[in-house]
């Protein structure tokens, strides 16, 4: 008997996730959440990031088309690591940021999508919403709200005082750790949902 399209698409995404995990391309901090979601019939995940600290060369934060990523870490960092990245580069504009977790989930029905959005928002992911509608494919984006976007250098001028860099890095580390806690909170909420399901 032919598999229904939902099941084959879900299977393909789960295979891709396993392949990318073996290649070390998936942040392990978010894997338990991905597993909890993918264990439910009505959902599968298509992409994710558990939150990261990064240094990019760009005129503006979020300027995707003209951005060079110089370093990214999915874990707390030491100020020296940041210094090492920026010391010898001569881009005029450098931004240091803490990016919140982001997750994309395909849902089987609008009701399943809204259920997930509400769970995510109740777990602290206030930027969660249903973003489209195709037959049996309702894409939900789930994103944290807290971020840091601080210029380290603008037009060739250093912005952050050297003695304050450790404080900036510490703030980013604390937000990152808090984001990871939210991921765990959402995982527990999803598992409670699974336990309730008929």
């Amino acid at each position: 008997m032919a598999e229904d399209p939902w099941t084959s698409r879900k299977r393909a995404f789960l295979r891709r996730l396993e392949r990318e995990r073996r290649q070390g391309r998936v942040d392990e901090d978010i894997v338990p959440l991905l597993r909890a979601i993918n264990a439910l019939d009505d959902y599968y995940t298509t992409s994710s990031c558990s939150g990261r600290i990064q240094v990019v060369a760009a005129e503006f934060p979020g300027d995707k088309w003209n951005m060079v990523t110089l370093a990214k870490w999915h874990r707390p960092v030491e100020p020296e690591e940041v210094v090492t990245v920026v010391r010898h580069v001569d881009y005029p504009n450098l931004w240091f940021s803490m990016q919140p977790p982001i997750l994309h989930v395909i849902c089987r029905t609008p009701a399943a999508a809204i259920r997930l959005v509400k769970l995510a928002r109740a777990s602290g992911f206030k930027r969660a919403g249903l973003q489209g509608a195709r037959k049996n494919r309702y894409p939900v984006e789930i994103m944290g709200t807290e971020r840091i976007e601080t210029p380290l250098r603008l037009s060739g001028v250093w912005v952050v005082r050297e003695e304050a860099l450790p404080l900036l890095v510490r703030a980013a580390n604390m937000l990152l750790v808090r984001s990871k806690e939210r991921i765990e909170r959402l995982r527990r909420a999803i598992e409670a949902l699974a336990a309730e399901a008929p």
Copy 2:
């Protein structure tokens, strides 16, 4: 004949909007967009911000519960205005930020909600999504992506070099202006939708 609940709720929100406008509590830059949305039968707006530059005292950006807003502007600012705000305060932690536009719209049907989400995303508001579902009330949040969240002071230590402050303010001003252009782009897209409607 009794008015249907959708129409009376919409009427109440439109009245509130007009009242708040008269009190100067609505940013005029976003009024043409609100008008364009409210002119359509399937939508009404409940709250909005056209994007702003602000200075807050808080340990972390987005720490709503322990945050003191020292200043906010819905327009480009001069570096001196920022200096004036922070010079004499003694909070240990100060953040300077550019917050993107945000808009909440109630939609009559899921299809109307998804149509709006897609228009918003196509106009550059990538953080747009349907966030809930009650009978005849489908709330959509529309938000821009680009922001700045830079500490000015952390644990009592100044973070931003004095000579770089004008560059930071200029970057925030440029992002703010760009956000306002996106608001206009979305307004044009909504008006084109209205012209298409039967």
